[in-house]
Amino acid sequence: MRNAYWLMRRELWENRAIWILPTVIGALLVLAALFGRADIDVSAGAPPYRMVGGLLLFAFGIVFFLVMSVYSAWYLLDSLHSERKDHSILFWKSLPVTDTETVLAKLATALLVIPLVYFAAADVTTLLIAFIVSVRASSWFGASLWRADLWLQLQALWVYLIVTSAVWYLPVAGWLMVISAWARRALSLWSILPPLALIWAESAFFGTRHLAAALSVRLVTGYPQIAFHGLWAALLQAVGAGGADPSFASADVWSLLDPIGFLRSPATWSGLAVGAALIAAAIRLRSRAVEL
């Protein structure tokens, strides 16, 4: 545990973007709330109270979550490569820390530390913005942001997202770490080309597209379908109709989350197994790795 603590501190020292990036995003959003238009024209009729406040808060959360996903993928791809590139792996390996501890600390940073930092940044930002909007905008708009149940839902959604997405995307994280520990250069290409080549080979030799289907489920459609009730249908409708279904937007988070369905899905457990195997491979690669 002692080593885990220091290894994660090391990751925060090395990757200052972990906290700088969400801070900058938060600051920009706060600036926008300070100097942008902070009111909604209600002359066309009052919009549903609950919906406006809720959508606004969740929209901020989504901005943070999207940036975090992209950054985490980049972080994992870089995690076992940069120490080889700058030769510092020889320093880290001169210390009594196992390769398993090192790889797991980096994984925990990507799946736990980074999400918690973004969660905190999103909360602080939304609180500040709600405060600013309450002062600047008309009272109904401000009031729609200060609702305890809404805030509670937001916290629950974040915790649920952090836990379930860590499990669901473990194989993706493991794959990125394997590439990071193995490839000498062109890491993004190496992370993308082998799956594409396999997809091509499968369709050329067997005429099937099982791998492509499995990957698109894992990367895109699977998570919202398995971890949530009705989210995928609502997303499809939003894309198709060019706008969210108002009834969905007014639904609360509690009815959206589907932890039982997530735990009962075989895809959750097969992903966990593949992810664990890939992490084991990354540990093995790291134990034989020296500088580039």
Binding site: H87, I89, L90, W92, K93, L95
Partner: protein, 285 residues
Amino acid sequence: MPYVIDARDLRKRYGSRLAVDDASFTIGAGRIVGLVGPNGAGKTSILRAVLGLASYQGYLRVLGREPLGARAALMLETCFIADVAVMPPWLRVDRAVDFVAGVHPRFRRDRALALLGKTPIKPGSRMRELSKGMKTQVHLALAMAVDAKLLVLDEPTLGLDLLARRSFYDALLNDYMDETRTILITTHQVEEIENLLTDVLLLDRGRVVLQDSVEGLAARFASVVVGADRLEAARALGPFHERPALGRTILYFDNADRAALAAFGEVRSPSVADLFVAKLSGGTA
């Protein structure tokens, strides 16, 4: 007392190239061993195997452990400074001390801080802001603050100027070395460390050409300077190497009769550097 390093028929292959070819050697406690050899002799491959950084074939025990797979446990009692500046460029000096203190139970923070205090290095500096010599000083301060049994140095002074090299070795000898510790060191600058060494391990093309203590070498090898007139007579005693010097010739002998050699002139014990050249360049240079 068991050996600190015990290697038998150590072998390391990179593709078709045999970097280490059945190397066998032992290193006891309290020794300062120079691993000497030309480029490509297998020095780094042997060190990597000893440190558990790379796979190998053959028998190898370091402090009683098989290094591969036990690297982390081995690093409790072993320190190493590799041939390039390996301190992470983004790391601050004070945090490097914090980190090592955090993960290394045998690290003494007060000792590291005292060693760093003797240098002009600021604790808040990042490694990338330091000169190569300063980075090596930081690394040496961290390594010397660990109560280790084995210190492995791979070209530790590469790229350092003369002053920095001298102070590096002074610190090593005066502040670190005692009879319980063992140092294994590789370097191209043989002349610079030969006063430091107790033992020499000479490698060529992956094989151990010579292993002996410095006293053993001095007793075993002899050189004598001979004029052209008596060269043939001296050659009859069987030198393994000869080298021209200012119109005369230096002949090198292995286990020769010193009394017989003395008839040709003053008999000297060649330096490690001279032996290195003599053993590795064959008959004549």
